[in-house]
């Protein structure tokens, strides 16, 4: 049975792998409880990992003393999350397209493309240190 209640929480985690693992596990369980299917869970998981790794590596420069603020809102119809790091931000439009021929063999720069491909909405704030992502449930919510 799918819970109709909304899950809306704000948490702060440190910039560590263990904190990311605990958060991802909690969020994916919450999405599964709202009856998101396996493909949606895979998409949300990938976008979460890429966004949180970006926050740790590029935003907080792997400084474990710096924090990541996460606000999420999960309903039977959509998964919505904002992830804010303590870095100066960046301009997402300045990230080269990793699919371009000249970039295809570069070793990095694909995380943002994957986030945009797997989520329905990906937007950054003006400073570029907060990403807001939305995934609408592919399977229609159960009317029962």
């Amino acid at each position: 049975m799918v819970s109709d209640s909304l899950v809306h929480k704000s948490v702060v985690i440190d910039s560590s792998r263990s904190a990311v693992e605990r958060l991802c596990s909690r969020l994916l369980e919450a999405a599964a409880a709202k009856d998101f299917d396996g493909d949606d869970i895979f998409a949300i998981h990938l976008a979460l990992e890429e966004a949180l790794l970006n926050a740790i590596q590029h935003g907080n420069k792997q400084n474990t003393a710096k924090q990541i603020r996460v606000e999420y809102f999960i309903t039977p119809a959509k998964f919505e999350i904002s992830i804010t790091d303590e870095g100066p931000g960046f301009n997402p439009d300045s990230v080269p397209d990793p699919r371009a021929e000249e970039n295809l063999r570069k070793c990095c720069g694909r995380g943002l493309l994957l986030m945009r491909s797997y989520m329905d909405e990906v937007e950054y704030n003006e400073a570029g240190n907060c990403v807001h992502m939305v995934k609408h449930k592919t399977k229609a919510p159960n009317a029962n």
Binding site: R17, F42, H45, E49, R99, L104, R105, R110, L113, L114
Partner: protein
């Protein structure tokens, strides 16, 4: 002392070195680094290696792994070898397709297909 966690299994079939990735999920830099520590010596120590990487166990990976594969690929081809990937499940293959790395890597359905037509060392 760090616990030793082998990330790969290595088999040899005729002229091919077949590396099977053992982890179901390969996520962050430390896991990718551990995989690199297992994989890259194989690539760097053998000129002209015919390398097949079997993804049969892998159910989830991040873009950090793609970077490692590109690094490995460059080393293999610089030394006159070949790199083939196989047994990639459909969800993982979609990541290769989105990033267009399905055009960069030679990808085969399984290790039998992947080992056909490899150049002798």
């Amino acid at each position: 002392m760090d616990k030793i966690q082998p990330k790969i299994a290595v088999d040899y079939y005729e002229d091919a070195t077949i590396v099977t990735l053992k982890d179901e999920q390969i996520l962050d830099e430390s896991e990718v680094q551990a995989l690199a520590n297992s994989l890259m010596p194989l690539v760097e120590e053998a000129d002209g290696i015919n390398l097949v990487i079997d993804f049969g166990n892998v159910k989830f990976l991040t873009s950090a792994v793609l970077g490692l594969l590109i690094r490995a690929s460059k080393k293999v081809y610089e030394s006159g070898g070949q790199l083939k990937l196989c047994s990639i499940n459909p969800k993982i293959f979609e990541i290769f397709r989105i990033t267009r790395l399905d055009r960069v890597f030679d990808i085969y359905a399984d290790r039998s297909e992947a080992t056909q037509g490899l150049n002798p060392t």
